[in-house]
Amino acid sequence: MEMPVPDPTILARKDQIVRRLQAVLPAEAVAHDQAETKVYECDALTAYRCPPLAVVLPTSTDEVAAILKICFEEDVPVVPRGSGTSLAGGALPTADSVVLGVARLNQVLETDYDNRFIRVQSGRTNLSVTGAVQEQGFFYAPDPSSQLACAIAGNIAMNSGGAHCLKYGVTTNNLLGVRMVMMDGTIVDVGGAHLDAAGLDLLGLICGSEGQLGVVTEATLRILRQPEGARPVLMGFDTNEAAGACVSDIIKAGVLPVAIEFMDRPCIRATEAFAHAGYPDVEALLIVEVEGSDAEIAFQLDKIIAIAKAHDPAEIRESKSADESARIWAGRKAAFGAMGQINDYMCLDGTIPVSQLPFVLTRIRELSGQYGLDVGNVFHAGDGNMHPLILFDANKPGDLEKCEAMGADILRLCVEVGGCLTGEHGVGVEKRDLMFDQYSQDDIAAQLAIKDVFDPSWLLNPAKVFPLRSTESRRQGRLAAE
């Protein structure tokens, strides 16, 4: 994968840039020697690494503003970083960039139960937002798999989802406001504790902009009352078609589960070998979770099971207790880890119309045969967000490239059937070069023009999201000169 050639004039000015950063930050908040910056050389897309010029770890919005102002004046690219859990390389540095990590911005600033929001600094982890309000019976709904580690800043940058967004939506549906620092150091508040935008929906635009429009330092998040209870049912099917049709019928019947998770046979087998969750050996498995009081849960599960029975299920296991629920979820939650035990893997994130599920799974199996790489599928079936896991051997020359080529084919397939390249992970560097498969030249031009407004000198996370050739003139500052 190609990254821009580092700007030699920036590398030559390293000492001066570091000195200026040290002048506005405590000594321990600036890292610049190789031993210290190495930790920041990659995120969760570990195949690609590059230590940055320096790393800064501010503890306030004012410090972030001071850092950005300096980088703006010095013309140095800035790579914002939450917890570094991006699977898309959203926080991958270049050698001439300053990594701005928000991990130390982790305080809760305000909790307001009457108005059902919490205001936090953006480096706070996703799960600890819920942790701050759960004693009062509340939770923060978006729940990406990495929620123990991932930061709200990264969630906002990628508009993260999770298993429960069928009912509760993704980050953008749960974000009320942000405090953001623009590249020139200007601090702005967008939105707040009230609903809807006063003018253009800039909050909606900022969410999911992958750290390219500004650095979010504070977020006002909607919190919800926890349901009285939740329980899943596990259902096995002999064909992907039957499982796919069952998902569609559940949705059509007016039941809205909080989660519908899907695993195919390769993934079930890997998970069994690793987590021993006791899953049946079937072609396709669904985990459907509903919420409410005991009686409401029983009513909904009865309805779901009745629908499933029309599709000739091989197995139905309804959870009757917290312990059984945990066992049903154990395998699903261990799925990525289980696949990782077998081999290195690449996790894709395309979304497809639910009706295309059986066709796409068949095509993925064909591609798997063609490339000679195994694929397991585990995904959020209710909203069509797939996570094919392609297994490869990082130590085998050419295997990573083969895996990437196959991944690209699968994502193109998602687009062909009416879906998209990424449902919740973001484009980052990983899917950058596929953008023209989904968008026209004009569509991309319109998006680049938005960055031109927020960051005219193209310094914020500049080598991400768009194919490098489409942004080259801007990154080289010609835009400013024109």
């Binding site: 702005v188 009230h194 006063a198 003018g199 009352r225 059509k252 119309p353 009706s355």
Partner: protein
């Protein structure tokens, strides 16, 4: 008046336009600042091109009547969950509301407090910018983070960035039944406290409003529950018991009456046929009563929706509501007023020097000639 029948025609008309364009769908809403320009209507761009009930997805051309979409959804037991308001009673404009108009104005209703606004259900858009380029963003799937989210940006942009030609929406099942818990006689502060308690309970409240002067003139607080029959009954009773400290609640489960009651609220029927300006004020719910109190000296008639966070105010013509509520965080928009009043105060508030400039710069990128609904948002 330029009539458009397809997207290419729309692109050509915009590219060829020598002057400003006043863009309309059904022309029923009359929101924003007055716009000078040739009328460009997308009402001729009609048709539902895709509806997959099992995927909760519908795609329609911008001029498609909202009624037509809702009728098709109803035939499959589904609906537009964000409950778009029908402005005709308020605006006194005739015409047929279109889905493009709903999206362009990000029109939502009482259920916005529970499920989100129109923008939260918008999965994709196609639109033509001020240079006549046909652009798309998003798609027809429920999760999509590929590139910038222009879908949200277009929702509520009132035609000032581009003219929407097609929208893709997430739809939801129509619940089996509904019930409304009614508590009478509460003052504003107590009512909003009751609504907060209801919205903070684990019972999936899908409507939370307070009518200061109900049909019989007395205040009534309304809390809506929807779902399967047994579940609705259970939750309504639990909520009535948990809120008993606010007063004896009545549970109304008649489907016709409850539907009419929420449509009455959604469309602001209480203000129909009355003179005066109508303002829409969005604040955090606990600030709602302060907004009401500040407007009382002006003789305002007030309705609280969204748990108190949306204040609808009917005030004498020319009242400067924005000035009256200054200092309370949120925003105030003119929903109905004479052209000169909208020009004087601005239908939309300023969002501050920096963000106003960002918005102006964005408009300039999409519409360098400044011909699309110029000035409609300020």
């Amino acid at each position: 008046m330029m009539k458009i029948s397809d997207e290419n025609g729309l692109a050509e008309a915009i590219a060829a336009s020598a002057g400003s364009l006043r863009i309309t769908g059904g022309g029923t809403r009359a929101l924003g600042n007055p716009v000078d320009g040739d009328d460009l209507s997308v009402a001729g761009l009609t048709g539902i091109s895709l509806y997959e009930p099992g995927a909760l997805t519908l795609v329609a051309k911008a001029g498609t009547p909202v009624d037509e979409i809702e009728a098709l959804l109803a035939s499959e037991g589904q609906r537009l969950a964000f409950e778009p308001m029908d402005h005709r009673g308020l605006s006194k404009h005739q015409g047929t509301p279109t889905i493009g108009g709903v999206v362009a104005a990000n029109v939502s209703g009482p259920r916005r407090i529970a499920v989100g606004a129109c923008r939260d259900f918008l999965l994709g858009v196609r639109f033509v910018d001020g240079m006549g380029r046909v652009l798309k963003n998003g798609g027809r799937v429920m999760k999509n983070v590929t590139g910038y989210d222009l879908v949200k940006l277009m929702a509520g942009s009132f035609g000032s960035l581009g003219v929407i030609s097609e929208v893709s929406l997430k739809v939801l099942p129509e619940p089996e039944t509904r019930a409304v818990l009614l508590i009478e006689g509460l003052d504003d502060a107590r009512a909003i406290a009751a609504l907060s308690a209801a919205l903070s309970a684990p019972y999936d409240v899908t409507g939370a409003a307070h009518i200061v002067a109900g049909l019989d003139g007395a205040p009534v607080t309304m809390i809506r529950l929807e779902g399967f029959e047994a579940s609705v009954k259970y939750r309504a009773e639990r909520l009535r018991d948990e809120l008993s400290g606010f007063g004896a609640g009545q549970i109304e489960a008649d489907p016709v009456k409850t539907a009419a009651g929420w449509a009455w609220l959604r469309d602001l029927e209480a203000f129909h046929g009355k003179a005066g300006d109508v303002w829409r004020i969005s604040v955090k719910p606990s600030d709602g009563p302060s907004v009401g109190a500040r407007l009382q000296p002006f003789g305002a008639e007030v309705i609280y929706d969204w748990g108190g966070g949306l204040v609808w105010a009917l005030v004498p013509e020319g009242t400067d509501v924005r000035q009256a509520v200054a200092g309370i965080a949120g925003h105030a928009r003119i929903e109905r007023a004479a052209a000169e009043t909208r020009l004087r105060f601005g239908a939309f508030p300023s969002t501050g020097v920096v963000l106003d400039k960002v918005a102006a710069d964005l408009r300039h990128k999409f519409d360098p000639r400044g011909i699309l609904n110029p000035g409609i948002m300020g």
